[in-house]
Amino acid sequence: MEIRILPDAFDPGAELARFSTDRSGTGAIVTFTGLVRDDGGALHALEIEHYPGMTEAAVTAMVAEAEGRWTLTDALVVHRHGTLRPGEPIMMVATAARHRAAAFAAAEFLMDYLKSRAPFWKKETTRDGTSWVAARDEDEAALDRWT
């Protein structure tokens, strides 16, 4: 398990290259990468606030929960905070397992929990000003499939 909460840009390709190397017992790797959507040029910047300390603890607990539900050979979560520009990677999840079903399920589980249960908040600056991104009902509803 590896968890990195960081203020600087990261490179999803370099993460996957590293994560997929020397993977004994692994047949399947799934990654999710979240990008700052440009939405036709309307978005100027995305500011991500987080709760230092709790963030690491909450994400660690989520990954431990995923490792209890599925047999994984490894898992990685990278999540930025600070100021991001359109097109930049916000975060990434990677899961490794013998077969694809576990790798896919664990990656989706982690994404659903990161969306609604990890203490991050997004603020958008568009041509119309700044506003906090509201939580989406469908993100909260997505958690139901894991209970």
Binding site: Y51, G53, M54, A58, L114, K115, A135
Partner: protein, 82 residues
């Protein structure tokens, strides 16, 4: 003394990211009542509690959580990670 932390628009409405609060409140809900009584900016931040989430010692919990022995309480809107 409890460290009280605010994030996102809760922080913006109250105007500070954290403060130390002297309180005898037995629960989070009682602490919220004390804060709301202080000043309008607290009343504005806590006007709609259905829009606020709370963590006690960095664990998500409810407003009925007890504060005995607690060091840190945080208030924030629903999270938007990922």
């Amino acid at each position: 003394m409890i460290d009280v932390l605010y994030f996102a628009w809760v922080r913006e409405r109250i105007g500070l990211p954290r403060e130390r609060v002297e309180t005898d409140a037995p629960t989070v809900a009682a602490l919220v009542d004390q804060l709301r009584a202080r000043e309008d900016r607290y009343e504005a931040a806590f006007a709609d509690l259905s829009a606020i989430r709370v963590a006690v010692d960095q664990q998500l919990t409810g407003f009925d959580a007890p504060l005995t022995g607690v060091r840190e309480v945080a208030f924030f809107p629903p999270m938007t990670g990922g």
